[in-house]
Amino acid sequence: MPNINTGDTSHNFDAIVIGSGISGGWAAKEFTEKGLKTLVLERGRDVKHLKDYPTTSLMPWEFPHRGQLTAQQKEDNPVVSKCYAFKEDAVHFFVKDKEHPYVQDQPFDWIRGYQVGGKSLLWARQTQRWSNYDFEGPARDGFAVDWPIRYEDIAPWYSYVEKFAGISGNKDHLPGLPDGEFLPPMELTKVEQYFKDFVGKNYHDRHVIYGRCAHITEPQEIHKQQGRMQCQKRDLCQRGCPFGGYFSSNASTIPWAEKTGNLTLKPDTVVHSIIYDAQKGKATGVRVIDAKTHAATEYFAPVIFVNAAAVNTNIILLNSTSDRFPNGIGNDNGLLGKYFAFHNYRAVITGKYEGLLEYTTDGRRPTSAYIPRFRNLVKQETDFLRGYAAGFYAMRPSFSKPDGFGAQLKDSLFKKDLGPWSVGSHMMGETIPKEKSRLFLDKEKKDEWGIPLVHTDIGYDDNDEKMVKDFFEQMTDMYTKAGFTDLKTRDSKQAPGLDIHEMGGVRMGHDPKTSLLNKWNQMHLVKNVFVTDGACMTSTSTQNPSLTYMALTARAVDYAVKEMKKGTI
């Protein structure tokens, strides 16, 4: 491997990766394994696997508030308090609202994890592949721009990352949700299996499957080499897993990269901007601010991967201005920050099932069943574009019925009854990227590191409203026919962002006039800058996106290193 900077100072590397979350961790692993001296810059503090999971082995009674937030925490954090995982056992892994302000031109719940590992410590671990129904979506339905890649381009890279990360799943042979390299699935519950059979019999185009997820259900040699073990079904993933049972940068890619001896990891280092050299016609490095001392410095490398998470990647690129690129690096077409999108998670349906009461479950399961998208999959069939996937669970809660007071109350607490099955689904809707849905930088207001505050101007549209309505209609119909009762639908009206699937702003495409990145996630106009996190997404589809970021990252590093060898970068 060309070691271009050998003998130079510690500010020179072969590759710089901005961010250590789910995609940055993969970039670090791939570069270091290929022998490149790699600098990973992380704006947050260091979080070491095992050592920095302070709550991971605490029992419920060891939390003073038994998991609840305090009134002060809620008052101080109106945004992040809305996140389901922001609870007493994981508050330390989330950004607090006041510490990192932004400007909401329209409400946007920006959920962030500033630490080594980023949100990979906190993610919901669902890993569904995209198919060509997804990659061909914009071209077929006439929105955004055509994806410059197809399933065949990314399929080997899905396999590559799945084997290393450890993905549990069932081969379901569905054209819309390709099978992968699966470890055994966890079990469906009796009523999930019942609903799966019912839907399979009654709808030719709808399916209920076990949700593919990044949990090691049967460790392979590659997982043992990472020091990771079988998922122990604790269902306490947000605390950090002492078994490495689920995939995170902290448990997997970062320590793997460290073992090569080629990784330099700098936590508490905020990237201000990318440095562009007009004479060389490429980026030469990054300008950073020490998170604690606020001292500025620069690091240099022949290739730069931007994996700061979708919004922050947009901020860094927009803030990387020069005479050549006054509106942000690589942004001649003015589209940087635009066509930003997300997943519509507003709709929830719940109900009961009074059948199969002779069965229950035993143990815990950190995942659930999944209903792949069926709407408009093969052809357009509704008055809205695209469709939605849904989660599905059926569990049997047990509870005591507190009765009266004194000895009577006490006795009642020593009994538990099994209730009927609780069933439910949440919608994961595709949203259409639009030019007016955008991020941009404030002209005056800056954060304490001197970086302009970002404005979020992203909203729902009529297509999203129609989709919510259809989700309620279709799910109510399916649930009713299956014999589920006491159905309740709820539109949370939650703001974009709370889905934590924000995507776009630096989209991939064929044409430099209408996109920022080419089919290798490489900036059209600055060939040694790559973006492989959520910011690169041309459209959103319905699948949880992290697996696709991982695959795109490994693929882009492979390409970048080959091009470096050829001397084109």
Partner: protein, 164 residues
Amino acid sequence: MLVSRRTVLKQVLFVSAGLAILPSCFNGKKPPGKKLNNFALSSEETDTLTALADTLIPGGEKPGAIQVKADQYALTLVDDCFTKADREKFLTGLKAFRKDWKKGDVAYLKKMEETAEGDASNFYHTYKNLLIQGYTGSEYYLTKVFPYELVPGRFHGSVLVNKG
């Protein structure tokens, strides 16, 4: 064969997991003792809360609310997790309740059980719910009554109820 291999594998996993967990166990800070940050109680009010906790979930052969510190948990919640408005409502209710109840007055508690309105009743039901939360979330309850498993190691989706 399969079973015994699984058992061995499990044991290996638990030992290694134990090692992995050790450092954070030693670092794990015990929750601090009860300290009220946002309000004050007179000693008479404290006595009432203690007496009511002891009446609602009395001690005996099996520990009651006081023995498992459910009363302290309840106050911690009122102190830290209640909004100012809810805390004031709680305290107003406590004052109203104290006026009419003395320890041993079972008839009054029966009346509270049947009433959903009024300051005293609001206090009574709020406090009772907190005590139940504190009791069923206590170390005693989650180790001796319905043991909580930190590491279940299993999930079975279809188990017959009478065997479960």
